[in-house]
Symmetry: C2
DNA sequence: CTCTTGACAGCACAAGTGTTTGATAGGTAT
DNA sequence: ATACCTATCAAACACTTGTGCTGTCAAGAG
């Protein structure tokens, strides 16, 4: 892979400088900025090494454009512009959930998703977030104030943690889901709690938990 | 607040265009880019409105610098440049932790932190991450495979969740910390478990939990 | 009616910047 | 030694791009 190519000391310096510069200023340095700060005698040397860095896949440039340097990693990081999923509401035992159907991505609370999590989740399209209210989910290792990420789906496989709605008493809880012949077992994640057994008819799956984010301040 | 100032149609257009441009290219447009694409008759009009936008706090510029426009929000978003903290290792009951002292930011696993979490944590410098191994922390609502974010500190206030090392048996666990006169109470987050009482001497705090990230795939 | 102000035009200038060309020095293969 | 390649220099060149006037025009203010 190209990015495995080794860099000369000067190239490494330049790359570092660019990173720092972007971090500090929010835009790329000019060739002369690099030249001056790295005490390189000529702009052409910078251009030369910039070209090398480009060929090694460490950065992107668009010819002739001022300050048009883009860090390769950044390019990746910038376009999707922070992975976000809609925060559709709050889940509390007892209150039914909204479906993530309205496509009005506007003026809705959004939750940032860590890049590596977003990567493993892949398609973020049908992922939404819910803020957990109350201690009622504590048995699923989810505390008051946590944010759960759910992928919208109406079916589940054995052992998956899902947001399940019990039609009977119209409550929504997070449980592990198990088919067991004609019946369904909803298993809390804590051994001190007993599972709920019910029928397929009585259960409506509203999404599968794919992540949990907890912020303690 | 300045950002509450209303924008003229043209200013809104310009701001939108800049946003799109940055998203697409990774660097700011030049005044002439804006002029051409928005079919504005003169560069001075763009400069005029840019100045207005600047005074309204919607963007930042550094004079005379090509493509030096920075979006106010973005500026905030860009500088920390992908929030990451080092993943220093694995925490298992029984094994002591490493201190986050080595400054070699190189070749170490990094963990992405959601932007909104990073914001509330503020300084990320002394924050590190640990992967939780084993079910031993389940009582602190933390499961096998979770990633906990800790701020490195050696003291804690009442009620804070900390990584506490018991010198006595050289084990590290996550517990809520309480001063109680001469002794220390380490309280699991689960009511079915009893707290540990010990002396200050026997406890070494290795960091305070500021976040939990769980990825289920 | 005149003066002022906000918003826009046009145009030219002067930096700001990327590129190019030519030359030099060290290393290596022929 | 000759040829060739890489990494550097230096200086000039030419395009890019922000700024600085000088006006124009409509809406208010006096």
């Amino acid at each position: 892979m190209a990015s495995a190519d080794k860099l000369s000391q000067r190239q490494a310096d330049i790359l570092d400088y660019i990173k720092d510069f972007v971090r500090q200023h929010g835009y790329s340095p000019s060739i002369r900025d690099i030249q001056t700060n790295l005490k390189i005698s000529s702009t052409s040397v910078v251009a030369y090494n910039l070209k090398a860095l480009q060929e090694k896949g460490r950065l992107d440039r668009e010819g002739k454009i001022s300050r048009g340097i883009r860090l390769a990693e950044e390019a990746f990081n910038l376009l999707p512009m922070g992975y976000q999923v809609p925060l559709l509401g709050t889940i509390t035992a007892g209150s039914p959930l909204l479906m993530p159907e309205d496509t009005s991505t506007q003026d809705r609370d959004m939750v940032d998703v860590p890049a590596d999590m977003a990567e493993s989740i892949k398609k973020l399209d049908d992922v939404y977030a819910l803020r957990v209210r109350g201690q009622s989910m504590i048995d699923a290792l989810i505390d008051d104030g946590d944010i759960v990420l759910l992928r919208y789906q109406t079916t589940a496989e054995n052992g998956q943690m899902v947001a399940a709605r019990l039609m009977e008493d119209d409550s929504v809880t997070l449980k592990k889901f198990y088919h067991e012949g004609a019946r369904v077992r909803l298993q809390p994640a804590n051994s001190t709690m007993d599972p709920i057994y019910t029928t397929h008819d009585n259960v409506q799956i509203q999404g599968r938990v794919v992540g949990v984010i907890r912020m303690l301040v």
